[in-house]
């Protein structure tokens, strides 16, 4: 198996221990090829790094603004809210 073939398939199976013939060949190639090992390792770290960036929670008031927007679109009666929400931020 060549590096190009490994490149095409390791991405699909970054961490999975598949037992197919192709996966056995990939593992065999990886044991012998320092470049492909380095590439696979850096891909795994890439994914880990991107996963480590936190994504924000729903902003305060967004839930109430949603129900106001739904009502403005004739979708939904406005629910009772615990506090007065900001007005609907937008909608054409």
């Amino acid at each position: 198996m060549k590096c190009t073939e490994v490149y095409l398939h390791i991405c699909d199976n970054l961490d999975r221990r598949l037992r197919t013939r192709r996966c056995r060949e990939i593992r065999k190639h990886l044991r012998a090829c320092r470049n492909c090992r380095a590439y696979l390792d850096s891909l795994k770290r890439t994914v880990t790094l991107y996963q480590s960036v936190p994504s924000p929670r729903l902003p305060k008031g967004a839930h109430d603004r949603l129900f106001r927007a739904l009502k403005a679109h004739g979708c939904f009666p406005e629910p009772k809210t615990r506090r007065r929400a900001a007005s609907v931020r937008r909608r054409p």
Partner: protein, 208 residues
């Protein structure tokens, strides 16, 4: 049904009740999925205001189309599809062609006629935990993912950040599994390239 009973309803019964016009059931659907929808919208839009607009559009569409949800796919798959379409509609108004050309070039590292990599692939040094918290690196990561065209960012987000399978990702985006794999491969290669200056030579960064 009381509010407490609605909270205990299974997903299927909740959807059926909401589709029949039960406003509290729809409210419970929103409560269960609003964080997921907002976070996914933010990962695609990379902007809080656009994410909230997509979040609103998504639940308006859910309300209007709930009756047509046939249960053949998982509800979350259907929901992801609506968020994705809303996000794509926003992005189609902008041109994003330039970066796609550079993604084509990342199909694979340069190889010889025999299919071996020509250049040595730089090894990445160990990633200390505090590096993950480094503000500069985080900003760099945010910018890099923002550079990805939405078609690639969506596949990367669904597969690597939301943990969806290749098949489900393909269904959500409306492409074949092979196309989903190809986009994922290019997206990862692009993001890897963006990080290589940091990861292959981390010593340089300590001098700032």
């Amino acid at each position: 049904m009381t509010g407490r009973e609605i909270k205990k309803l299974s997903e299927g019964r909740l959807i059926a009740a909401a589709a029949d016009g039960d406003a509290r059931a729809f409210g419970e659907i929103v409560r269960r999925y609003e964080q997921t929808v907002y976070r996914y919208a933010f990962k695609l839009c990379r902007d809080r205001e656009k994410a909230e607009e997509t979040f609103q559009d998504t639940f308006i569409n859910v309300y209007r189309k709930l009756g047509s949800f046939d249960g053949r796919s998982r509800f979350s798959t259907w929901l992801y599809t609506i968020v994705t379409n809303n996000c794509l509609m926003r992005h189609r108004r902008r041109k994003v062609r330039e970066i796609e050309e550079s993604l084509e070039a990342l199909e694979s590292p340069e190889t010889s006629a025999e299919g071996e990599f020509i250049h040595e692939i730089a090894r990445w040094d160990e990633t200390p935990v505090d590096l993950l918290l480094d503000r500069e690196l985080r900003d760099h990561i945010e910018k890099a993912i923002g550079k990805l065209p939405p078609e690639y960012r969506i596949v990367f987000t669904l597969r690597d950040m939301e943990g969806r399978s290749t098949e489900e990702t393909a269904r959500i985006v409306g492409i074949t599994s092979e196309a989903a794999k190809s986009r994922l491969r290019r997206a990862r290669a692009f993001l890897r390239e963006q990080l290589t200056p940091y990861m292959a030579h981390p010593v340089r960064r300590t001098n700032r």
